[in-house]
Structures are given as C-alpha cells and as structure tokens.
C-alpha cells in the first residue's frame, strides 16, 4: 500500500492538527481519494515513526487495522467468506458466510420465544433469558452450505468464490438434549421440525438422534451474542451437517414421528444422482480441503513456499491431508495444526521449494472414517454426471512460470 499517493490524507490530517492542536485520540475512518480507509488522527509522520508520537488511547470497541480490509462477497442470496485472506481456523464473526432465504430479520431479544411442542409431555415456551439459565455447552465447529462449489474456465477464481460458504466459529448455547428432557419428549418421536422466525419461516425436519447427540440452541458465537446474519438471538446448530439444517432465528420446534417434507428438503436441498434417483436428507458434509495459499489472485516467487490450507469433515476428525506439487503424480503428508477437532476446520501446511517451473499443486483430505476427498471427475462419475449439492472435489492451483496462480479443475 503506497501511503504517499494518498494526498487527501495528509491534507486532512494537517487541517485537524491545525484546529485541534495535538494528535486527537478519536479514531475515525477517513475514505481517501483512492478508496483506501485510514485512521483520522494518525499522521503521515506517525506512520513513518510511531515511536515519536503517543498512540491512540484505549477505546470501547476494537477495530480492525485500517490497512486490513477483508470483505465478504455478497450475492442476492448469500455472502462468501474471504478464505484466502484468513489465517488459522477461526472465522472472524463479521466475515462468517451468510445464506438466508428471506433476508435477515430484526428480532427484539426481549420478545424472542422458542416454543417446543408436539410429541412431548409438557409443551413449553422459553425466553432468551430462560435458555441462558440452562447449563451451557461450547464447541468449535465449521458450518458449510451444501451448495458450495464453483469453478472457472479461465482459472481466475479465488477460494472465496470456489467454496467461501464455509466458516468456523465457537458456538455456545444450551444442548438441545437438555431442552428435550425439560419438555419430556416421547420415546416414540423420530423427527423434529425446526422453524425460523424469518420472512421465509424456514423449516427443516431433523432426526431426533441428531437432536439428542450434539445439537445446540446457540445464543453466542465467538464469545459474544450470535450475529444477526447468523441467527440472532438464537439458532439451531447441527455440527457437521449441511448449513441450511441449522435453522437460524429459531422460533419453534415440533416433535413428530415422521419428516414434514418441507420445500427445503424436497425441492431444494436434494441431489439428482444419475437419471432416476433423487437423494434426500443428505445431511452430512463430506470431507474436503482447499489450499488457501498460494491461490488466485496471488503471485509467488520461486524458492521456499509454505503451502497452507484448511480441511474439514462432517463425519469427524481429519486424519490426514495429502499435498501434491506435481499435478497429483506423488503425494506428501501435510502437517496438521493441533488441536485437530471433531467436525472442525483443521489448518494444514506443507513446506515446498518451487523451482519456478509450471506445475499444479493440490490437497486432498482424509477423515477418520477413511473417506478420501475425490477428484472432480471421480465425483461427477459417482453422481451419474450430475453436479449440484454436496460437491467437494479436490481443488488444484496451476503455478505459471511467471508466478501467477490459477484455478484448475481436477
């Protein structure tokens, strides 16, 4: 970033200093002529040598450095996490992907209610305060939309555009099993309906076994209240399952002995396999990985490169990630960053010396059940030529001799 070109910055700072005397403690983002944002009150002199001027005083809310501008990429129905701009495995809450079916509702937490009824001994209604009184659970877990694969023939596509509907948070709330006990769920129940309080009044049927096993009614994300885009003030969270089943803004759970066959689980989130089969209730997200560095639009230089990426599986822990630097001819074990957690993003890295010649690099994830992330052609064949939901192919990056990195299908 070339600070010197931003003439308006120095102009504004000079004026502020003239009016206010000493450097101001207030931090205000100033949009400059070239579109870059800087902290007003920070002079060019300070940037040259921050040791010579006292810094900004403590504030009420921290902000991202004005030099860092990672953004989600929105469409009318979703917004994608900038995977290529992130490090480690935790997605900053404001960069968690979004997918909603009737927009983000405005819900007053004081009026929030969760009703649980149907095949129960005691139909109950819980306020947000009620939910927070129950014993709490926290866990790290990825969340991924089942419609999360794109390619590009010209190779000019980022990890954000390929599979940016993947994010990870720490989710805190009350275990759904705790609420099941509280209302006295019938032992004959086999499914429950989860319904959101958004404009789509979004619904999904979920097997009771998942509800007992590890479902959470989450009211917190990464240590603070769940973000509006993620279901404020409370959402269902189903670890490892396709994102749309984790109903946001949850308002009602109906216990039943059969699925409800809602629009989302019949006409929408189902996959055609071959000419005469439509796969339904395909909840679990299969294992997947992607190299996030180097990736498009990066340019790299020959020499040492630490290949970095993320891997995850809805079936459990990642057991290994293999990296190829010769277009899949040979594979090497990548180092996995501990802790490797169940149904969570796992960071991997592989140290490599690039000789500058054109080649393809790629990663494939293997999970603890023995599932090996397939190549694109392999997956397409297994689905009888159909693409669609649950498409998790190995993603390759082509390194041109000039250092440009481009997407390649496998």
């Amino acid at each position: 970033m070339d600070i010197g070109k931003d003439k308006p910055l120095s102009g504004r700072i000079s004026r502020r200093k003239l009016l206010g005397g000493a450097a101001t403690a207030a931090v205000v983002l100033v949009q400059t002529a070239t579109g870059k944002a800087f902290q007003a009150g920070v002079s060019v002199a300070e940037l040259d040598d921050p040791t010579k001027i006292p810094g900004v005083l403590p504030g009420t809310v921290g902000t991202r450095s004005s030099f860092e501008q990672p953004v989600k990429k929105p469409s009318p129905t979703s917004s994608r996490t900038p995977l290529q701009d992130l490090y480690g495995t935790l997605t900053p809450s404001d960069l968690h992907y979004e997918r909603h079916h009737g927009g983000v509702p405005a819900i007053d937490p004081a009026k929030f209610e969760l009703v649980i009824h149907g095949m129960v001994e005691r139909p109950m209604v819980f306020t947000l305060a009620d939910l927070k009184r129950f014993p709490s659970v926290s866990r790290l877990a990825f969340l991924e939309c089942s419609g999360n694969y794109r390619g590009a023939n010209d190779g000019k596509i980022t990890p954000q555009d390929i599979c940016g509907l993947t994010s990870q948070s720490e989710w805190t709330g009350v275990a759904l099993s705790t609420l099941f006990r509280e209302v006295g769920v019938s032992e004959k129940a086999t499914w429950f309906l989860a319904e959101g309080g958004d404009a789509a009044v979004m619904t999904r049927s979920v097997p009771m076994s998942k509800g007992w096993k590890d479902a959470i009614i989450a009211y917190a994300q990464n240590g603070e209240a769940v973000r509006p885009e993620q279901g404020y003030p409370a959402r269902l969270f189903l670890p490892g399952w396709e994102g749309n089943t984790s109903i946001k803004w949850i308002r009602r759970i109906e216990i039943s002995d059969q699925p409800f066959m809602t629009r989302e689980e019949t006409s929408k989130y189902t996959e055609q396999v071959g000419p005469a089969k439509i796969r339904q209730f395909s909840f679990t997200m299969d294992a997947r990985s992607i190299i996030t560095y180097p990736s498009y639009p990066a340019r790299v230089e020959k020499g040492w490169i630490e290949i970095r990426g993320i891997a995850w599986s809805g079936r459990g822990k990642i057991s290994r990630v293999e990296v190829s630097t010769d277009a899949g001819k040979s594979w090497h074990l990548a180092a996995l960053q501990e802790p490797v957690l169940d149904k969570s993003l796992t960071a991997f890295r592989y140290l490599w010396q690039w000789n500058g010649g054109p080649t393809e690099i790629m990663s494939r994830a293997v999970d603890e059940t023995g599932y090996v992330q397939p190549f694109y052609k392999q997956l397409l064949a297994a689905r009888g030529g159909n693409m669609g939901y649950h498409f998790n192919p190995v993603t390759a990056w082509y390194l041109q001799s000039d250092g440009q990195v481009l997407f390649r299908s496998t």
Binding site: P123, S209, R252, T369
Partner: protein, 200 residues
Amino acid sequence: MLVNTIKPFLLAAASATFLATVPHTDPGTVSFETRRTDTLHYPERFGFGKPVSAEKIAAIDIDVRPDGKGLPAGKGNAVIGKQIYAVKCSACHGASGTEGPNDRLVLGDTTSAKNRRVKTIGNYWPYATTVFDYVRRAMPFNQPGSLTDEEVYSLTAYLLHANGLISEKTELNASTLPKIVMPAKKYFVPDDREDGPVVK
C-alpha cells in the same frame, strides 16, 4: 454409592456402542440410556420456561405434513388460482410459471432436453402438500404470510393444474390435496452415503 459409580460407566459404554453401530443419519430414536453422559447429574427438570397454551401453539403451528395433518379448512380451484397468480405471483415467476426471473414452477415444453433437467413442481416436487405449506408460509416474497387459506388452496390448485396434474375444476381441500400423487415421488431415496471410503 456403588450404583452411582457404576451406572455412568455402563451408560457411557452403551452410548459408545450406539454411535459405532448406527449411522448418524438414522432417524431412529435414542433411548434414555444413550443420552449424553455429561448430563446424567442434571435434575429431572430445571423448571425454566413456561407451559405454552394450545391457542398460542395454534397461532404459529402452520406446518402441513404429507398426510394432510395441519391443512386448514377451506377450498380452492385452478380457475380462481389463475387470477390470483396473475396479480401476486407472475411478476417473479412469469406469466405461465415458466418464464422467471425467479424459480420456474411449471415444466411447460417437455420435448426439450434442457427443460427436462429444470426442477419444477411437476417434475421434481414429491408432495403436493409441500406446495401449500411453502406458499402459505413464505410467498409472495415481498409480502410473506399475507395470503388467506382459500387463496393458498386456489394457488396450489393452479400450480398443480398448470403442471398437468389435476383438472381446472378439481376442488382442493384438506381431504383431496394429500391424495394427489406427484410424478417425482418415486425417484426420492434417503441419503445412501456412509462413513468410510466409498464416494457416492
């Protein structure tokens, strides 16, 4: 005391067995013995929350199941539905349900190979009740939940008629709607993927 120390161990063992032998997409029940072992010391009930009245449940319990449970009183037909569709739906779904710009609802020309792959009510939706449920809860997109039950019956009738599934005069109500067999139902199968190395 002996009972208290042994019981959690047995329950934990039962839980591990369950997780190892039953696919986790299995919709079956989980018996009381296989609940989370870390909740075993919880009281029978915490007493948080309040009982909810039948009236309050009825006000928000809008779901409709394939067997017709949840369908309200009222009736409608495609003749009336066509008029409502023109006013409230055609702007997004096209004059005949084939033109868009949003989701295509009607299959239309089935001689085109391209059209056969498009997901519409006629060739993809497995249950007619789902049309009623979804239109009532979420449509029209700019005024969700604004349609009367009679309007929803008529719109459902129009969409089924436009897809060649019922006649223009067929009356839809809580008794007739669940009996309609959708052409795509026979294609639907539960998820057949499993843990392990097989890619499906």
